[in-house]
């Protein structure tokens, strides 16, 4: 179990029950529902995320975690529901505006831009670039100074992520783990308020996992809020101020790590399972009516390139 953080202290008095109110929420979700045909992939009645906290979103495959990410960040539209991010209503806002408003995501299957160099990948992340306007781009004096400042910031981040030696390599030449690092560093170039990380450690070797973990832990000290999906329970327990558990699209539990790990519903549903194949069990949400089918994959994702992450899934280990 990790050391207490300002966020975990602030959350100490919050009751560990689904949909509970937080003292200083940055994201407030109400009645967000997404169905694909007859299947309800996400059905979140109420959820609040504490500002400055690292919140983990866990749950078996098909629980709707990635779909929930897609909905929050504008990559998918819900059938119903509203959500406020830092006071702004984000329902119906397109993905690029969500990113500009400070909520930046990464992807489960990394999206390193293969035919751009690492540095170009980084510089792309900066917002409000004058040179990105078509006509202004033809007049370099209008953007050269800003470009230099962006490059400086990119180089600093690359040093922080220990990727400065790869600066001029093409993104496509990086290993799977380096791509994960690059994607996280690139997301930070946006100067986000909240970072949504979709399985940032998947397919990454243990040494690099430690380094990635440290980067995630550092984010709150830069004033950022983190929501991340992760299957490795050691990582989740080590890093989280708060844990939200999803199953079949619903929030079945939430609370601090020590409470959630002892929650009988979660144990039976997820954590305590010792079998390797997690797809074999489909926990029924508390108080749910007829069980809904499990959605295997959210629409934005494809299994393309999945062999990159061919290592044994972390959740197959015992907690």
């Amino acid at each position: 179990m990790r050391e207490p953080t300002p966020a975990s202290t602030a959350l100490a008095d919050v009751a560990p029950e689904p949909g509970v109110a937080k003292p200083d929420p940055i994201l407030v979700v109400d009645g967000v529902r997404r169905s694909f045909g007859g299947l309800t992939a996400v059905d979140v009645e109420h959820l609040e995320l504490q500002r400055g906290a690292i919140t983990s979103l866990i749950g078996p495959n098909g629980a709707g975690k990635t779909t929930f990410f897609n909905l929050m960040t504008g990559f998918d539209q819900p059938n119903a529901g509203t959500w406020q991010f830092a006071g702004d209503d984000l329902a119906g806002v397109p993905a690029h505006r969500v990113a500009r408003s400070g909520m930046v995501r990464t992807f489960q299957l990394t999206k390193a831009l293969t035919r751009l160099t690492v540095l170009e990948n980084m510089k792309l992340g900066a917002t409000q670039q004058r040179g990105e306007r078509m006509l202004t781009s033809l007049w370099p004096p209008a953007w050269k100074a800003q470009e230099r400042a962006i490059e400086e910031r990119a180089d600093e981040l690359l040093v922080r992520f220990k990727m400065d030696h790869m600066r001029d390599e093409l993104g496509g030449t990086l290993s799977g783990g380096q791509r994960k690092l690059l994607e996280m560093a690139r997301a930070l170039m946006v100067e986000p308020v909240m970072v949504m990380l979709d399985e940032p450690m998947a397919g990454v070797n243990p040494a690099l996992t430690q380094s990635l973990l440290q980067h995630v832990k550092d984010l709150p000290s830069f004033g950022m809020t983190v929501l991340f999906v992760e299957h490795d329970m050691d990582v989740v327990m080590d890093i989280s101020d708060w844990i939200v558990v999803m199953a079949q699209g619903q929030i079945i539990a939430e609370g601090p790590p020590d409470v959630v790990s002892k929650d009988p519903a979660v144990i039976t549903a997820y954590i305590g399972e010792e079998h390797g194949d997690e797809s074999r069990f489909t926990p029924v949400p508390r108080g749910a009516g007829a069980p809904v089918a499990v959605i295997e994959e959210a629409p934005v994702d494809t299994h393309e390139g999945e062999d990159e992450h061919s290592g044994p899934h972390a959740e197959e280990r015992e907690p």
Binding site: A95, H96, K111, L113, K123, L124, M134, W143
Partner: protein, 327 residues
């Protein structure tokens, strides 16, 4: 059969107006496909509306030549918007299907009966149907006195020389524009869209707007290619704008090297040099009737292309390091 005649003929084509037309069309495709990853399979449609926009405005409506040029370019912009608005939010293949269909629809509409008074139907628009034609101002602007001009192996009539000089100036300006755009942050964004548009979106880029800008710019270059084509032949007809023109332009682009600034220019020169010299070679040998030479030269050039792609998949000027990465 004289080898120098064959090479001289090929060279004359390689620097002539046809090469200019395909260089411009391929530069437009390079913006679409090479840099932004847009699959436009109807570049010939942009050439058609550019050429007809200019010719109709000048020859049929009777407005000045410069207005005609602007009308041709504006027609290309309108076509880009019409195609882009419904398809650019969808996956790449939808644009491909719409563009190839739109180009054919345009050709059939322009040659159809009801539009004969405007488009001249299947016979198209000669430069001057009973009035000042669209080449009148163009010819008047020609600074070269009538006659023929000889530069080493190259020979020009005064009007061909005029089109050639203006055409290559346009190619140079278009290349300069593409160079300036693609080395800027704007270019970085469109390249990122080519690589993965969701990643660009997640970083706050308005992907739709960038794709639209790219479609419009490349379409205008296609329209410009159509205008140069109409001026170089002082006439135009709908059946010149067959779908294979788009694929010739793609061949030019891939041969020269997609996503390189001068790739389309070098590709166009090589493509037309090969087409022309192979044709002359076949004519010279006399091994087949003239009627079969046309298809045969295409087949032979196709074979040469396959060989080139096998040994140089990135094209003449493309970046091999980039080519070898799988996406």
């Amino acid at each position: 059969m004289d080898i120098t005649t064959i090479l001289a003929g090929g060279l004359n084509t390689a620097v002539g107006p046809t090469t200019v037309v395909f260089a411009l069309a391929a530069i437009g495709l390079n913006v679409h496909y090479g840099y932004t990853g847009l699959l436009n399979f109807g570049q010939v449609g942009f050439m058609l509306v550019g050429a007809y926009g200019m010719a109709i405005t000048v020859s049929i409506v009777g407005l000045p030549f410069w207005v005609g040029i602007l009308a041709g370019l504006a027609a290309a912009v309108v076509l880009a918007l019409l195609l882009g608005v419904p398809t650019l939010r969808l996956r790449a293949d939808y644009l491909a299907i719409s563009t190839i269909a739109a180009a054919e629809i345009l050709r059939f509409v322009f040659r159809s009966g009801p539009f004969v008074p405007i488009t001249g139907g299947p016979f198209g628009i000669p430069s001057g149907p009973g009035g000042p034609g669209f080449t009148q101002t163009w010819d008047a602007l020609n600074p070269f006195p009538p006659g023929s001009y000889q530069f080493g192996w190259l020979s020009f009539t005064h009007s061909r020389l005029w089109v050639t000089v203006v055409g290559w100036t346009l190619v140079a300006l278009a290349s300069l524009l593409v160079w300036a755009l693609t080395r800027s942050p704007w270019g970085r964004v469109v390249k990122s869209i080519r690589e993965d548009e969701d990643a660009a979106r997640a970083l706050g880029k308005n992907v739709f707007a960038y794709k639209m800008q790219s479609l419009v710019l490349g379409g205008m270059l296609g329209g410009l290619a159509g205008i140069v084509l109409a001026l170089s032949q002082a006439a135009l007809s709908p059946d010149q704008f067959l779908p294979q023109l788009t694929f010739f332009a793609y061949a030019v682009l891939i041969m020269g090297g997609a996503a390189s600034v001068l790739g389309p220019v070098v590709g166009a020169m090589l493509f037309w040099f090969l087409i022309s010299s192979v044709e002359r070679f076949l004519l010279g040998t006399g091994i087949m009737p003239t009627g079969t030479i046309g298809p045969t030269r295409l087949a032979l050039v196709g074979l040469l292309l396959i060989v080139l792609m096998a040994f140089r998949p990135q094209g003449l000027l493309g970046n091999k390091r980039e080519m070898m990465l799988d996406a």
